[in-house]
């Protein structure tokens, strides 16, 4: 019950449904009671009128009375609905069977007009009238049948309400659902968006009451996009600005290497230059990440995955040779992807670079591409330690580094990969090459291919 109360206070739709239903119920009950009572009264009044008319008819036609004595039944006679006409005093001295239609034993003192009496254990409605000749007649009918008729007609008056009430409830429920559907659709649309999709919400099909809300969200989205943009630009600008001093530093260190120096100094210079190299690659990776996260890279002609693999291998082969890693491409199939070449290059380069970095000396790195399930499947496997299941989400965070890893990297490679994969609609999956041994990283990327 508490849950329902909570939902009631939270959901406008539920609140509207419940309060409208209650209002309809109350109105229907009130209207029903009123209709019932008035129909009942009306019916009774009609029947009283009938008694009056019988009395008037009796006087106008100057009828005389002869009470039935025989036991024989008249067709159509019904004791219960029977109208009895008699002289007021007759009941006490005319011996007759009431069941057979004889006069009722009514008190002679009864005043003119309508009254309800109990005669011989049965309630009767009696009209007493004094005729022109001074005689008084009584017109009577059992109240049982009168009430039954009145009730029946009253129930008939109530029937429309009984049918209309559930119909009205259904109509209200349906109407509310329809009215709230645009909001549900809107929520679903916003829910499905990626991190980068900060364009304004379409407010054309939104109800006027919700529009200010949508406009406010749009303004917020705009501000968020602006601030994200600013942040991205700042990273790019900062990395950019760092290039010049680092170039100077690196050039000076390079010149220093040509100078005469002791073995110790040379060793230290070597360490210094390695540090400078790291700084350089960090700056390049920061810039690459900023580029990968920016939205606009126009996709041109389909790019060959095989050609991209070749370019990346050409660049990274020296690194692999240094660690005596057997790197190569499996399978001879080539697939063309509708991606910008720069994106695909950055993506593959970072994955292969990672694979080489984390694979021990003498290891193996395999690249492949194939068509699978109506899409292009890129696979990169290495014989390194792999990534533990619980780390697989976090490794995509910038600057995240696996625990106990010796490799020196910028910590941005997989963030760049993820940014490009997300922007180009790729599904990315990390696994072990050997699930049983929990060894070797297996990265797969899948793009749907346009069916052409």
């Amino acid at each position: 019950m508490d849950g329902f109360k909570k939902r009631l206070s939270e959901s406008v739709q539920l609140r509207l449904s419940v309060s409208l239903s209650l209002a309809i119920l109350i109105v229907a009950v009130l209207a029903g009671v009123f209709a019932f009572v008035s129909a009942f009264d009306e019916a009774l009044e009609m029947q009283d009128n009938t008694l009056h008319q019988v009395a008037v008819l009796f006087e106008r036609q100057q009828m005389t009375l002869a009470y039935p004595r025989s036991e024989g039944e008249i067709a159509g006679d019904d004791e219960e609905s029977r109208v009895i006409v008699q002289y007021l005093g007759d009941g006490s001295h005319v011996p007759a069977n009431i069941e057979a239609g004889g006069p009722l034993p009514l008190p002679a003192t009864l005043a003119d007009g309508l009254s309800t009496l109990t005669v011989a254990g049965e309630p009767f409605r009696v009209l007493v009238r004094t005729l022109g000749n001074g005689k008084r007649i009584a017109v009577a009918q059992e109240t049982g049948i009168r009430d039954k008729d009145a009730r029946e007609s009253a129930w008939r008056g109530l029937l429309p309400f009984l049918i209309l009430f559930p119909v009205l409830l259904l109509v209200v429920a349906d109407l509310l659902r329809k009215l709230f559907r645009p909001i549900a659709v809107l929520a679903a649309e916003i829910d499905q968006r990626g991190e980068q999709e900060l364009h304004a919400i379409d407010d054309k099909h939104v109800p006027a009451e919700v529009r200010p809300f949508v406009l406010a969200i749009n303004r917020l989205l705009g501000r968020v996009a602006q601030s994200m943009d600013g942040q991205r630009r700042f990273v790019a600008d900062a990395a950019h600005e760092l290039r010049s001093p680092l170039t100077a530093l690196s050039l000076q260190a390079e010149r220093l290497a040509a100078a005469e120096m002791s073995g110790l100094a040379r060793e230290r210079l070597f360490a210094l230059r390695r540090g400078i190299e790291r700084g350089k690659s960090l700056i390049e990776q920061l810039l690459a990440l900023a580029t990968a996260q920016a939205n606009a890279t126009p996709s041109s002609a389909p790019v060959s995955v095989y050609a991209v693999y070749r370019r990346v291998l050409e660049d990274l082969l020296p690194l692999a040779e240094l660690k005596q890693i057997d790197i190569g491409v499996e399978g001879a199939e080539d697939v063309h992807l509708a991606l910008s070449e720069i994106d695909l290059l950055a993506l593959v380069r970072n994955l292969v670079d990672n694979a080489i970095r984390y694979t021990p000396v003498g290891g193996r790195v395999d690249l492949s591409v194939s068509r699978e399930q109506g899409g292009a499947l890129l696979q990169i496997k290495d014989s390194g330690p792999g990534i533990a299941v619980e780390e697989r989400e976090r490794v995509f965070d910038p600057f995240y580094r696996s625990l106990g890893s010796q490799a020196v990297g910028s910590g941005l490679g997989l963030s760049i990969v993820k940014a490009i994969a997300e922007r180009t609609g790729a599904r990315i999956r990390l696994a072990y090459c050997d699930e049983a041994e929990q060894h070797g990283l297996y990265v797969s990327l899948w793009w749907p291919l346009a069916t052409a």
């Binding site: 170039t247 530093l249 050039l251 390079e254 040509a258």
Partner: protein
């Protein structure tokens, strides 16, 4: 060789000028576009190194002025601007090459040599990647350990194809295209056979195999 260095960053300018002197070039260093144009009017240079982010007159404008005056001096852009547009503007504007900061001096010197060679139109008679050299006239190859060795014409064609761009991976079909002319029937395993022969003559480290991709000679040995 006289080089004009246009660079506004004092640290980078000083380092490059010093390194150029170490490499036996005569290097003049100016730090803005207007001075650079004046220097070019009064002095003959064999090569210009131009930074794009200059105060006052932007590097691309300076480049435009140089080319507008009909000065065809070899010109290499060194810059921190890495967008594709900047690169295209630079190359379309008449630059001979484009080098991105941060760079190694060794690379700058190599690029300078390449530009000078291209611009000089000197016919190359020798291809080399530092490991293996190929004489294009005598069709002889040599390495540090192995003196001039005569190659067959197909071995020569294959090694030449690899040495034109050291570091580039050529697939079997790339190499077959280079070795065989139109209409020549390609024998199966011909490429492997030729590479085997070359390795026997010059040493197995000369040509590297990249699994699933092809073959290459290394770039910087």
């Amino acid at each position: 060789m006289r080089i004009l260095l246009v660079e506004d960053d004092p640290m980078i300018g000083e380092a490059i000028q010093g390194a150029l002197k170490d490499a036996s070039y005569a290097a003049d260093w100016v730090n803005n576009g207007a001075t650079a144009l004046t220097a070019l009017d009064t002095q003959h240079y064999d090569l210009v190194l131009l930074d794009l982010g200059l105060p006052g007159k932007d590097g691309l404008q300076v480049l435009g002025c140089i080319r507008a005056r009909g000065n065809g001096v070899p010109l290499l852009i060194i810059t921190a601007r890495d967008s594709l547009d900047d690169r295209l503007h630079g190359l379309d504007g008449g630059a001979d090459d484009y080098l991105l900061k941060p760079f190694d001096m060794a690379e700058l010197l190599a690029r300078m040599r390449a530009v000078l060679r291209r611009k000089g139109g000197a016919a190359l008679s020798l291809l080399s990647n530092g490991v293996v050299s190929l004489d294009l006239i005598s069709k002889q190859a040599s390495t540090g350990e192995i003196p001039e060795t005569q190659l067959s014409s197909r071995e020569f064609a294959l090694l030449q194809a690899l040495l034109i761009r050291p570091g580039a991976i050529l697939s079997r079909s790339d190499l077959e295209d280079r070795i065989y002319g139109w209409g020549n029937e390609v024998e199966s395993n011909a490429v492997e056979f030729l590479i085997h022969g070359l390795r026997r003559k010059l040493g197995s480290h000369v040509i590297k195999n990249v699994r699933g991709m092809g073959w290459m000679v290394s770039k910087n040995a």
